[in-house]
Amino acid sequence: MHSARRPSRLLAAVTGSAVLALLATACTGTNSAGGQDDSAAGKDVTITFWHGWSQDSETKAIEENVAAFQKAHPNIHVKIVPKIEDEKSEQALRAGGEDAPDVVSSFTTDNVGKFCSAKVWADLNPFLKKDGIDPAKTFPAPMLKYSQFQGNQCSLPLLGDAYGLYYNKTAFAAAGITAPPKTFSEFEAAAAKLTVAEGEGFKQLGFMPAYHGYESSIAHLLGQYGPSYFDGEGKSTVATDPKVGALMEWQKSLVGKLGGFEKLEKYRTGFGDEFSAKNPFHTGQVAMAMDGEWRTAALDEEKLPFEWATAPFPVPDDQAATYGRGYQTGTIIGIARGSQKQTAAWELVKYLTTNTDAVVSFANAIHNVPSTFEALNSPKLTNDPNFRTFIEIAKNPNSSTTPASLNGGAYQVSLQNLGFDYESGKQTDLKAGLAATAKEIDAAVNQAK
């Protein structure tokens, strides 16, 4: 078989050169920086707008807004692509190319740090300056905070979400509670009073404190304390800021008072889906819930056998003066850095985020909190008192958000994991757990540098 050597060498050569050729072309160049278009001169321009809203009422509302925009700018045509998840738009932006969107929106403000620092989204400061818009005078502070990263305003708020307390008035009356609780100790007392046992479980639970209880996640609950998360140098403060440990201890004690983790967990896993008629607050399985303002719409739609109302979520006893605050987040919108049609893209972003009529009608349509001062004070805004609660929370100077970070929401996932371990008793040493979590967060941020 001497002669067989020839093909095997040939084979090796072919394979080898193919690999080399590929490695050589495996350059991974950066994307181009984008550019301006001629829409300002009245030329026709078509831009693509990706958003994540998926319900019919929501997509219809955004279409109406865009139609109004096109009426005002007849030469700018907008192609809307709905139901895009964040990771998809991020993937498309990183890949670049002609099909990538020009205008993008996201529900996950945690990702702002990633989008800004990796320059996936363009810095909007030059545009704001050019048009004489002062962001600090236009947008509420927490919303401005979650839409920028280290001075780079790579996105603007497009409606916001605020979190408060939903309570079952009928159950309150039955338990002899006259007003919604304002402090954690009042809240605990109410939760205990509202809890009705049945067999080994509950007929009605006052409040589901587990971090998995849909919106009662650790970051949302921490909004009642207003923690810092990161220090000036960008290091995690979860181990040094006493607020984080305080919340976790309070939550754990509440878990204990309401029957213990196992019993609550058993009850929780029997809940229906969050965004369905089987949501435990809708079914009366829980008498109080932490939730966002959009819940008012879903509750209004249904004929429920009980009365309900909303209020700001209670605050820790030692911070009683801050009552009225809540966790805030929202939708953000920005321009792809690689877009070649940034002039037209900015016109759309500017319209959607700063035109008072647009913001108000959109907020009314999808039951979200408006994201500009003018819109928040607009008389056209819905008068529904249950919804108004959330507008007040959004205006409250003590309301807070989770700050943007280089690697998105990874730091919240780390903290959340510790929360799960602590509430279930898998982790008993809170101090050590927090220290390890801080180390984990720092390492992950460092990894993203």
Partner: protein, 294 residues
């Protein structure tokens, strides 16, 4: 005479009766086990079907039998935005992928089974290694390759094109089968002056039809079921979604209408199951082929 043999006869009778009774018991035991197992395998389909014709209100209750039969759930799903596109894309991916896989894998399998050449064992080992490679291992460079070099993400081409370059599992399966084709047929063709390619086409292919059918079916199912590939390459363009990928996001965009989700689930399962009934034999032979005789 009767008296002398009657005794052993009755004894034999008794033995036969005992044996029969034991056989009957055995039959009952085996078949009740089989019925129990069948329930385990079939009941999920039944529940899915029953839920798919319920109202969305009933679908989230513990009532198992539909109060009213909402057949138009299927129509609703069919008319969902994109559902038809997902179908078309899945058919394109699975159809083209299958044809390309068979065309590109057959010659390779033939060479590995019937040619003698240096490095053949090594090549075979390489094929098996490729077959066993988790797709996630190489996904980062592959994604970058399709996204940054060729700008083909958001289409199905990153999924289809590689199938023109041989699929390790299909090569392996075909090679296992071709090993069983007697040498004499091939040599006879060669002596008749057939080129190797003609031999493959005229002699080997007709004999390997069952194996080719099995490979084609496997590949078709693989493409039909693929979730990871479309998630990576096609997901950022809804016009390129496939059924498996679309189905996974179906519940999210329908805000937990379990009845519609189950109807969609059935509509995704149905073609595969229909295909199976038409090609059951080829399929089961193919599975057997993957196992090796010791």
């Amino acid at each position: 005479m009767t008296a002398t043999i009657s005794l052993p006869l009755t004894r034999r009778d008794a033995a036969v009766r005992v044996a029969r009774r034991r056989a009957a018991l055995h039959w009952v035991a085996v078949h009740s086990l089989a019925v129990a197992a069948a329930l385990f395998f079939v009941l999920p389909f039944v529940f899915v079907f029953l839920t798919s014709v319920m109202t969305d209100r009933q679908a989230i209750t513990a009532d198992l039998w539909p109060h009213t039969w909402q057949w138009d759930n299927f129509v609703k799903v069919w008319q969902t935005d994109g559902f038809l596109t997902w179908w078309r894309n899945t058919l394109l991916y699975a159809g083209l992928g299958t044809v390309l896989t068979v065309l590109s894998s057959l010659p390779v399998a033939y060479a590995l089974a019937k040619f003698r050449f240096r490095g053949r064992n090594l090549a075979l080992m390489a094929v098996i290694s490729m077959m066993m490679l988790p797709p996630q291992v190489i996904i980062i460079p592959m994604y970058l390759f399709w996204a940054k070099q060729l700008h083909l993400t958001g289409t199905l081409w990153p999924l289809i094109i590689p199938m023109a370059f041989g699929d390790a599992f299909s090569i392996f399966l075909l090679r296992q089968f071709l090993l069983t084709v007697p040498k004499e047929y091939i040599e006879a063709a060669r002596i008749d002056g057939c080129s190797e390619f003609r031999t493959l086409l005229k002699v080997v292919v007709p004999m390997a039809k069952p194996a080719i059918a099995a490979v084609a079916l496997f590949q078709f199912f693989y493409c039909w079921n693929d979730y990871f590939g479309p998630q990576i390459y096609a997901s950022d363009n809804q016009g390129a979604w496939t059924l498996s990928y679309g189905l996974a996001s179906f519940k999210a965009s329908h805000h937990t209408n379990w009845n519609l989700t189950m109807a969609a689930t059935l509509l995704v399962m149905a073609p595969v199951i229909v295909l199976f009934f038409f090609a059951q034999k080829a399929f089961i032979e193919g599975v057997t082929l993957t196992g090796v005789k010791g």
